[in-house]
């Protein structure tokens, strides 16, 4: 009798990385549903188009690297990146915008750095920023939310949407419009209350901008599902949302004409919730310890507010996340947990400095 030699532990939990990724995909459904309900088929087309592009790119690179395609596609990480990018892009953006962004995300930001687990920057956000800088017009043209469509008008149907995306048809008048964050960026001279009264985006809304509040609630719901499944810990999201809320309270300025907007608007507009639960929780490019992730999240929250309030871009999650990605190794150096039996936490580079 000769037995197999295997090192301990012999027991393993059932969960695997593919399942984690699939769960993340499932958790985006409430957000995607809200986007589709409020802004039409555009986001859905983005997601599908990005996913197909991502799978093709990933397969091509994995093949070039001489690895097993089925093994590496089986982890679903490429699809997750694509879905997140697709959700972040403006609905009804031309097809080539989606394709260029996805190719950049998968090929440059992910595979050229060594593939899953080796990318220092969030691939979806790299793709997004490349697009935002290269094609500002396409990237800042948003569809108007359901409530703001002209009377009797509707979002283009699936076929019409496909024509707009692939054949370059122009959407009907009134289908595109500003976002709540755009409104505040360009609302100088008006008190916050006045903005809320005059702007249909706000006077048609519950608390944070028509359509957008639903989208953010959708992503919040998805995030809570992932938290309850322990896919990630609360530290990153709470760090970001807490810092964003704190900043918007500190600079609320009683709703004066120079106020960058209310805390509720900042938390439930733009990519706040999606960023907090789906973007900065990307474990590969974030800080590693719980304390590190709290600081990492808070840094993103502060940066998002700073760029929104005083920068040139209406939303800033992508820039904030990439800047924080740069800082992650530095944060890691100072946020090691205190190990059992030790009185102090140590620094990662402690021994090298002796």
């Amino acid at each position: 009798m000769a037995f197999k030699q295997v090192s301990s532990p012999h027991a393993h939990a059932a969960q695997n990385t593919s399942q984690v990724m699939k769960l993340v995909l499932l958790a985006t459904i409430p957000g995607l549903a809200a986007l589709t309900w409020q802004f039409g088929w555009g986001s859905f087309i983005n997601v599908v188009l990005a996913s197909v592009t991502a799978v093709v790119c990933e397969a091509a690179i994995v093949k070039m690297r001489g690895r097993s395609i089925s093994f590496y596609l089986g982890d679903y990480s490429a699809v997750v990146t694509a879905v997140l990018l697709g959700l972040a892009l403006p609905p009804l953006a031309p097809w080539w915008v989606v394709v260029v962004g996805t190719v950049f995300s998968i090929v440059v930001a992910k595979q050229l750095y060594g593939g899953l687990g080796y990318n220092p920057f969030n691939p979806a956000m790299v793709g997004y920023v490349v697009l935002l800088i290269s094609f500002p017009i396409q990237m800042t043209t948003w569809v108007a939310p359901l409530a703001l469509l002209p009377a009797g008008a509707a979002h283009p149907g699936l076929i019409e949407s496909l024509q707009i995306v692939f054949a370059g048809y122009s959407p009907a008048d009134g289908v595109t419009g500003a976002t709540p964050l755009d409104v505040f960026k360009h609302s100088s001279g008006l008190l916050v209350d006045q903005v809320y009264d005059r702007e249909p985006l706000f006077n048609q809304a519950m608390f944070a901008g028509a359509g957008w509040e639903w989208v953010n609630l959708g992503f919040l719901l998805g995030g809570i599902i992932l938290l309850s499944q322990r896919i990630f810990t609360w530290h990153g999201p709470v760090g970001m949302l807490g810092a964003l809320a704190l900043m918007s309270i500190l600079f609320w300025d009683s709703g004066s004409s120079s106020s960058p907007g209310s805390p509720l608007m900042h938390l439930f507009s733009g990519a706040s919730m999606m960023g907090a639960f789906f973007i900065l929780t990307d474990p590969v490019s974030s800080a590693v310890s719980n304390r590190g992730r709290l600081i990492f999240g808070a840094l993103i929250g502060v940066l998002v507010y700073v760029i929104r309030a005083w920068g040139n871009y209406p939303d800033a999650v992508a820039f904030a996340v990439l800047l924080a990605n740069f800082a992650a190794p530095f944060i890691d150096n100072y946020t090691l947990p205190r190990t059992y039996g030790h009185t102090d936490r140590r620094r990662a580079t402690e021994k090298e400095e002796d």
């Binding site: 009798m1 532990p9 695997n16 399942q19 093994f71 090691l336 947990p337 039996g341």
Partner: protein
């Protein structure tokens, strides 16, 4: 109920304990051959004290302890010594180690033995000796000799005795079933321990809440004894010594310290039973309760197994189906190691033989990339960052690994258990620890070598410096002599008139031994007696003249040699010195003669 504390991390793998507790502890027929490894414990291996072919009785010492940290081995049954040689043992590496094989005679005849019942009136030192002589080492974990553990130098008194009945590994029920059936004897053993330790104020049995029958079995025996049974929620790895200490006391064992340093002793509950048998019954540790379980065996249950029983014996008596599973594990599914073959023997630390089916424990899937999801950090019971350790282990960054407290890893396997990418993390840590230990040893060696080399260099340089000082002194002396000579010639005075000034030559600058002086003087006196003063004077004057001539030549040669820096310097300067001394001798004789 006592308060308990909650450790960070931990996992809840399927317990799978119910399978092996349906039947009471069983007895196996005595195996034909028993193989007793000489090292079943931490410390020095025991030395055989039996010979080939010798008859031994059950309980007879067959190998003696060597040194302080060691234990003796006893014959688990009566029979004949049939081999003393290297055999495969229960070790993760599958290595061979010295063992004694006994071919049993089936009679199971005990050697004469006797215990004591009034242990309360026996000196703790005597009780400790009994524990040591019974060959008892820790039966739960690493197998540390119990007598050593219980006698921790007494730097500080032991105020807390923790009895570990946690048995947190899935599948294993050896302690559980032993408590159910032997609670009275176990408590007796704890009381003996208490006597040995001079009655600690706090005696706690730590047990997880998944063993209600065992807890109930202990209850009547601990009543009024001052021993408390502390029940806490089941979580792996609560049974680690450090974890249990924290759960029961809220104190962390400082890194690098032993429980005894903090006034605590932590001992496995199976060991307390062995201590009872040793003291009260006078029986050495020759058997233990071992769980045989897993779907590849027909009847999972516990056996009172003789130490040295080949695993094959246990498996064959349990309808082991070799085709059903690929591995046989000694220990549990979290920290146990796979056996190379069924020939290895049960040792004092073997609490479980697990033969899982493929369905229970399938072959590992290939590892996927680490995405630093952090589930491992959430599971780690000592608050490490396993994902970072993994990356640094791959990169062999030893400094980073140590800064991340790699050596505080208890290798519990919780990180690998939860890893969604199925990375064998613990294996990486074991390898990295080994590499670092080896690097440390090599550094010590190379430091030694460097020290030696530097000392050698320093010694050579020192010798060179001393020689240089001597050389300089000689050179100076020579120059002085030359100058004197020149001055003398310039004055035009005769050699004879210069003679009185001869003693003024700086003989003091050249260290010459006084013994040589005495001999020279004696020789001079003898010579003086033999010849007339005139003859002597003439002879000496000739000698001086020729010596001066030789000295001059030698000095010239030396100067050449110094200029060309050839290796002859030493020889030449010695020759010059020699010549000069002769010259001086002659001069001083001449002076004596003149008086």
């Amino acid at each position: 109920m006592s308060r308990t504390w909650v450790t960070p991390g931990g996992v809840h793998p399927p317990e799978n304990k119910h399978q092996s507790v349906t039947l009471p502890i069983g007895q196996l027929p005595i195996p034909e051959k028993l193989v007793i490894p000489l090292s079943q414990h931490i410390g020095a291996p025991a030395t055989p004290c039996v010979e080939m072919g010798q008859q031994v009785l059950k309980g007879q010492v067959i190998a003696q302890a060597v040194g302080m940290v060691s234990i003796p081995m006893h014959a688990p049954s009566s029979g004949t010594i049939s081999a003393i040689e290297h055999r495969p043992i229960a070790h993760a590496s599958g290595m061979l180690a010295p063992c004694i094989e006994i071919t049993t005679d089936g009679a199971d005849t005990w050697i004469e033995h006797q215990g004591i019942s009034d242990y309360e009136h026996i000196a703790p030192r005597k009780l400790l000796e009994m524990v040591g002589n019974a060959g008892i080492s820790g039966m739960g974990g690493a197998g540390f000799p119990s007598a050593v553990k219980l006698n921790p130098g007494r730097q500080r008194p032991i105020d807390t005795l923790i009895v570990n009945a946690t048995e947190c590994e899935p599948y294993i029920t050896a302690d559980d079933s032993a408590i159910r059936e032997r609670a009275g004897e176990i408590i007796e053993g704890i009381k003996i321990l208490s006597a040995i330790l001079d009655h600690p104020t706090n005696i706690m049995i730590g047990i997880e809440d998944n063993k209600p029958e065992a807890i109930a079995a202990l209850a009547p025996h601990v009543e009024g004894s001052g021993i408390s049974v502390v029940v806490f929620p089941t979580k792996y790895p609560s049974g680690g010594e450090k974890q249990l200490i924290y759960i029961l006391t809220g104190k962390e064992l400082p890194a690098g310290k032993l429980p005894a340093d903090e006034g605590m002793v932590c001992i496995n509950i199976g060991t307390t039973y062995a201590i009872k048998r040793a003291v009260i019954d006078g029986e050495p540790l020759i058997s233990r309760v071992t769980t045989v379980t897993g779907d590849a065996v027909g009847t999972p249950r516990n056996y009172d197994t003789l130490i040295g029983t080949p695993v094959r014996h246990l498996l064959e008596h349990n309808q082991f189906d070799e085709q059903a599973g690929g591995r046989v594990v000694m220990g549990g599914p979290m920290m146990g190691f796979t056996l190379p073959s069924a020939d290895v023997p049960i040792v004092k630390t073997t609490n479980c033989i697990l033969a899982p089916s493929y369905a229970e424990i399938p072959d590992d899937d290939p590892a996927q990339p680490c995405i630093r999801c952090g589930m491992c950090a959430e599971a780690c019971p000592v608050s490490l960052l396993p994902q970072q350790l993994f990356w640094y282990a791959q990169a062999e960054e030893h400094d980073r690994l140590e800064a991340h407290n790699l050596f505080d890893c208890i290798e519990c396997g919780a990180c690998s258990y939860v890893c969604p990418s199925n990375i064998p993390l613990v294996q990486y840590y074991r390898a990295a620890k080994g590499d670092i230990r080896q690097a440390r040893e090599e550094k010590v060696k190379s430091d030694h070598a460097r020290d030696r080399f530097e000392f050698h260099k320093e010694r050579i340089e020192q010798a060179e410096r001393e020689k240089e000082v001597k050389r300089a002194a000689r050179r100076e002396a020579t120059q002085q002599a030359k100058a004197d000579h020149l001055a003398a010639t310039a004055n035009g005075s005769a050699v004879s008139s210069a003679a009185p000034s001869a003693p003024a030559t700086p003989t003091g600058a050249v260290p010459s031994s006084s013994a040589a002086d005495i001999i020279a003087a004696a020789q001079a006196r003898a010579a003086a007696k033999q010849a007339s003063p005139e003859d002597q004077r003439a002879k000496l004057e000739r000698t001086i003249a020729s010596a001066e001539q030789r000295l001059k030549m030698a000095e010239e040669k030396l100067a050449e040699a110094v200029d060309s820096d050839s290796g002859k310097q030493d020889k030449l300067s010695a020759a010059v010195e020699n010549t000069r001394q002769k010259l001086e001798q002659s001069k001083s004789k001449l002076a004596e003669l003149a008086e």
